[in-house]
Symmetry: C2
Subunit: 288 residues, 2 copies
């Protein structure tokens, strides 16, 4: 009944895994190094090969090592991270107000750094679906109202793996004044979504990014070519106009091992009269 603090030694798998993890943290094993083979581990710890394998599996699930048939497990080399910055929001807005010639030049391309555009295969698919509860709520429309769904993804021509993937939703009623917006044949649209919306009189004034993460399913891990133990970062972007009305919602996914999202928040200056350039005012309050 009472939570007995019995001193049970942790399972052998954990002890092995922990030992290896500490070797990595201490730098005795560096990225790229090979680990001992399962048989060696089993002998060194006088346990079965199965237990050694379980230890390795744990480290794989934590994203620390990679392994495959025929060769010893390897300390994973963290890939260089691609930075996706929220400053792009303003850049795209500015671009939308420029003349067409300029917009056409600064194409979509740059959204995917680190790789030649010619090595990527882009796809965009448009269709119209019912808003359903969640989206209807955001757009303040009826659940049965139609939204334009635009799915974008690009894959690496060489490997067939996903490089980026996102879905965007806009109420059909909002964009239908310009029928060109409903046709995927017009992709890639020079100037991007913000310019598209400008053609129906919409100016985006605020963008909200909602970020979380989860593990990929087996299928997702395969599509992205994700090693074990790498989470997916989920980012929902909500665009508002001057009246705080939601005009676009977009969901994007990023592999966490090669992605860093960057958000820049400018702060308003303090009111003028408080110059406060002085040295110190000392401790000014605190617990009563």
């Amino acid at each position: 009944m009472e939570p007995r603090p019995t001193v049970v030694p942790p399972p052998i798998q954990l002890r092995i895994a922990d030992d290896i993890r500490m070797q990595i943290e201490r730098g005795e094993l560096t990225p790229g190094d090979s680990l001992p083979t399962l048989a060696e581990l089993a002998e060194r710890w006088s346990c079965s090969v199965g237990s050694a394998r379980a230890a390795i599996a744990l480290l794989k699930a934590q994203g620390l090592i990679s392994s495959g048939r025929g060769k010893a497990p390897v300390v994973r080399v963290p890939p260089r991270k691609v930075i996706r910055s929220s400053e792009r929001h303003q850049v795209e807005k500015d671009l939308a107000a420029r003349p067409e010639a300029e917009r056409a030049v600064v194409g979509e391309a740059e959204t995917n750094l680190n790789m030649q555009i010619s090595e990527q295969e882009f796809r965009s698919r448009y269709d119209q679906v019912e808003a359903r509860a969640a989206l209807a709520d955001l757009f303040r429309i009826e659940p049965t109202d139609l939204v334009l769904r635009r799915r974008y993804d690009s894959t690496d021509r060489a490997t067939g793996l996903l490089l980026s993937s996102s879905v965007s939703y806009m109420p059909v009623a909002l964009v239908s004044p310009n029928p060109a917006l409903l046709d995927e044949a017009n992709e890639p649209w020079p100037g991007g979504t913000q310019h598209q919306l400008s053609t129906v009189g919409v100016e985006i004034m605020t963008i909200i990014d909602e970020v979380t993460a989860r593990m990929p399913t087996t299928a997702e891990a395969q599509l992205w070519g994700l090693p074990d133990g790498v989470p997916l970062i989920l980012c929902r972007r909500i665009s508002l106009d001057a009246n705080e009305k939601v005009v676009e919602v977009s969901d994007a996914e990023y592999p966490a091992d090669r992605t860093e999202l960057r958000f820049v928040t400018p702060l308003k200056p303090w009111p003028k009269r408080r110059s406060n350039g002085g040295k110190t005012s000392g401790r000014q309050g605190g617990r009563p």
Copy 2:
């Protein structure tokens, strides 16, 4: 040599796991439901118990189910997410410019919603350490220069589990004009970091949040009480003054299943003369 497209049936573990995952996605199994026992699965798929267990282990690593000794695995119930919004940055800045009486009231407390303050145990530890390469780079100081390291965490008194955890760094040279800032006994400081910095003449004008995610180590999962298959969200916050000088760096971790980070980006309006309220200008460009 040639990549032979042999049609090998996927391993049993994967077929079982996939079947269960699809049942969850179709709604035939809803959060809280119990799964078949290992023995049942083994019989239904005519495989060994070990393979059934491997399937369950995979689903656990994907964060879809929970299991423990003595009872059948259960479809995981996603916890309600705590929203952490970047709008707090401005709120804290405004607060720092208010008189002390006001600052004292609107204490730190609210940073941890969803729980009485009395149920939490706060800890703050200050020390001074060498900047090392990474931080020295950011602060543009020497690697051997000292930085003030402030570690904050709060734990649930009842369960002993971590509720929040962060570390903050500031160059000692920057804050030392006000010695009160070097002493952890002055925590919690009414008005927070932004007010603390104001006492040495620093006004933060820009905050950059860098977000990524990774799987927790075994120890981290235990500290936070994380179930298997839940990533940690990492957020590094860099604060700049009016000269774009880095004045503070802080690293925070959040359990991904309970956390949503929200970033609000206000956009500058288009130049006046372009009213563009009109209907449509049609398709205006595109691929040459």
